[in-house]
């Protein structure tokens, strides 16, 4: 039992990270109906932004330094996300969706490939520095929570609450939901969809950057290909929760994280990557709209 709870707690912090990334997928899908494959690369760039900024920043008190690095990475990735949308997706806005999807894959592969060139990040893994000291935080009845796990979970939850407030309690958030509901009608109501879409990308990318730093601290080997698998699993989380649905993405992320932790804990870790996709296929067979999604009838 203690072992089970321990696995669940490990899964909780991993799942919070998945949820952060899944939010980016689900928001973009909500406004554009596009699987933003490049999102996983934004996440990877976030980890590297943290890596490089921690190398350049002088040492001072740990916690504010961590927050500063987090902010730098988030700002950098917000810029990257904005640029990707501007350069690659906006020209294809009124083209068939397949074109945008192929472009998204192309951008994703391009960032990976360029990142692997020796004059950028290089193909070999780098070691993420310890930004915050790790150690056991609490231990109750054999179940221990490390400091890092707590930080990861709390940071992710704080960001998610902030996002929730932003989307449900501000004018911009209302505009985002309106565009997501029906872009054309939203434009008729005086909302500038271009601005809202750009803002969606900025928001999602900033969250992905935060996830990148949290992953970097928890699993310090970072490399240009790290986004691929994690991003796919986060996407599975978004589908599991019902794509386009924010709460669904959060729940789906945490669920995927926990399932993965259980598989690694009880089964074999070599199959950990296969499990998420098994879940995806199951979801598609049993409930294609996801756990929280609403069924959308396609109209002509």
């Amino acid at each position: 039992m203690t072992e089970f709870v321990q696995h669940l707690i490990n899964g909780l912090s991993l799942g919070a990270v998945y949820a952060l990334i899944a939010l980016g997928y689900t928001m973009v899908y909500g406004v554009l109906q596009l699987i933003n494959f490049a999102h996983s690369e934004v996440f990877m760039l976030g980890a590297f932004a943290g890596f490089y900024s921690s190398r350049w920043l002088p040492k001072f008190r740990e916690e504010p330094r961590f927050l500063l690095i987090l902010l730098i990475a988030m700002a950098f990735c917000a810029l990257v996300g904005f640029l990707i949308e501007r350069v690659a997706y906006r020209p294809l806005r009124d083209k068939p969706r397949l074109n945008a999807l192929i472009t998204a894959i192309g951008i994703s592969m391009l960032i990976q490939a360029v990142g692997q060139l020796p004059w950028f990040m290089g193909p070999s893994p780098q070691f993420f520095p310890t930004l915050l000291a790790n150690g056991p935080l609490v231990e109750v009845g054999g179940v221990s929570v490390t400091r890092l796990q707590a930080i990861t979970f709390v940071a992710a939850v704080v960001l998610m609450i902030a996002l929730h407030r932003l989307i449900f309690h501000t004018r911009l958030g209302t505009a985002m939901r309106a565009v997501s509901f029906d872009g054309k009608v939203a434009a008729l109501m005086g909302i500038n969809p271009d601005r809202v879409i750009a803002f969606t990308f900025i928001l999602g990318s900033a969250l992905a950057a935060a996830a990148g730093i949290l992953v970097g601290m928890g699993y310090p080997r970072i490399e240009p290909m790290m986004g691929l698998m994690l991003g796919l699993k986060a996407f599975v989380a978004a589908v599991l929760g019902g794509i386009g649905n924010l709460k669904g993405a959060m729940a789906g992320g945490i669920l995927i994280g926990m399932i993965e932790a259980l598989v690694v804990g009880y089964g074999t870790s070599s199959y950990r990557d296969a499990v998420a996709f098994g879940i995806l296929i199951l979801v598609l067979v049993l409930k294609p709209s996801g756990l929280f999604g609403r069924v959308v009838t396609e109209k002509v």
Binding site: Q33, I35, A88, P91, L92, K95, R97, L98, N99, A100, L101, I102, T103, I105, G106, I107, S108, M109, L110, Q112, A113, V114, Q116, L117, P118, L228, M229, L232, F235, V236, V239, T268, S270, Y271, D273, A274, A276, F277, G278, L280, I281, L284, V285, P288, E298, V300
Partner: protein
């Protein structure tokens, strides 16, 4: 409305006897007065009204009559295993052509988006290799010489590999093709990853190190044969009722459904055919390189195939062929650059090609046209710009 329409029909009658004959039928709806443009473009009946069954039969047998002897001649002219680098490269290009043309059936004709071609390829490659390794040294068909027996075994193994990949395609396609299109991309991708992970953990087929000791059965002529088959099958498929249904699904799924096309069935069928040939390509690759390793079947391999199809033009068979050859040779042609910089630029080139093409020329090199359309359009007055290749 009706008398007016009939009057119109009569007025045209002097110039066009067929229209006259049609309009005289009493209950014809107005729209049927002229044959639909698609029917004009349908080659045989319109072009040669008096073609006998024999000429039609002869025309449809023409590719076989030309292609098979040509392959036999190449097989006879080339040594069984050539050490020449160019011949080696030609074989790889041929395998890539099989891959690209088969993916084109799903991504080009049907308008779905599969990202897991490497997975199906792996299934086919490993199944075929396992069969030839297991059967190879032990049995020989008594009445046949060794080389023919091996050839037959390889052919059977290729079919088995393709069949296994087709079944895998059915298993993946059935759930994912029922839901919205872009899920297919992620499901096929995930499936390919699952396959790879499973192979890596299967010690029976070599695990992560790969399967070695596969007999070198796939000669250039086998590759050519399968290129021929896949091109012929997809060309004929496109011209058939099935192909029309696939195009209808691509153009507008809801409209196709409303016209009575069972979209899921056709999509799954196309997917299975495509997976079959991916499996064949995998079998060819395994018996060509004599080694199969899970590293060959990553996400990147799938992307390479997608790049070939997109560069060639989604839906164009000849485009896929040319792009596959081009993208196989390109990295080799860039080898000096690679040696100079010491960097593998292949993925950079593939991905930037994809992005630039999508932004600048989303239709690819050929669009959905074909090489053989060029000749036809010169011979006959052009009909209906939007009409797809027969």
């Amino acid at each position: 409305m009706r008398p007016d329409a009939e009057g119109g029909g009569r007025a045209e009658a002097g110039e066009n006897p067929t229209a006259d004959a049609e309009s005289r039928e009493p209950l014809r709806p107005i729209v049927n007065r002229r044959p639909p443009p698609a029917a004009i473009d349908r080659g045989p009946p319109a072009a040669s009204g008096s073609a006998s069954a024999l000429t039609i039969w002869g025309r449809s047998a023409r590719p076989l009559a030309i292609g098979l002897p040509l392959i036999l001649v190449v097989a006879w002219a080339l040594p069984l295993r050539s050490d020449s680098y160019l011949v080696y490269l030609a074989g790889l290009a041929g395998i890539n052509v099989v891959l690209a043309v088969s993916l084109n059936i799903v991504n080009g004709f049907t308008g779905q988006f599969s990202l897991g071609h490497a997975g199906f390829m792996a299934v086919g490659g490993y199944v075929a290799a396992a069969i030839t390794i297991a059967v190879g040294g032990q049995y020989q068909l008594a009445f046949l010489p060794e080389s023919m027996s091996d050839g037959l075994l390889f052919f059977g193994a290729t079919l088995a590999g393709g069949g296994a990949a087709g079944i895998a395609g059915l298993l993946v396609g059935l759930p994912s093709l029922r839901v919205r299109g872009d899920y297919l991309a992620i499901v096929t991708l995930g499936f390919a990853e699952i396959i790879r992970v499973v192979i890596e953990n299967l010690q029976a087929v070599g695990g992560a190190t790969g399967l070695i000791g596969i007999p070198p059965s796939a000669s250039i002529s086998w590759v050519l044969f399968w290129v021929f088959v896949v091109v012929l099958v997809s060309k004929r498929l496109l011209a058939s009722t099935h192909g029309r249904a696939l195009l209808a699904v691509r153009e507008d799924e809801i409209a196709a459904e409303a016209m009575g096309v069972n979209t899921t069935r056709y999509k799954v069928q196309a997917f299975v055919i495509s997976s079959f040939f991916a499996g064949v390509a995998g079998a060819l690759l395994g018996h060509y390189l004599q080694i199969l390793s899970p590293k060959d079947f990553t996400f990147i391999k799938s992307i390479e195939v997608v790049a070939m199809v997109v560069v060639g033009g989604l839906g164009s068979i000849s485009g896929a062929v040319i792009a596959a050859i081009f993208l196989t040779i390109l990295p080799e042609a860039l080898r000096p650059l690679q040696d100079y910089t010491g960097v593998d630029l292949r993925m950079v080139i593939y991905s930037s090609l994809l992005v630039l093409l999508m932004l600048l020329r989303p239709t690819g090199i050929f669009g959905s046209r074909e090489l053989w359309d060029l000749r036809r359009s010169r011979r006959r007055p052009p009909v209906q710009a939007g009409e797809d290749a027969p």
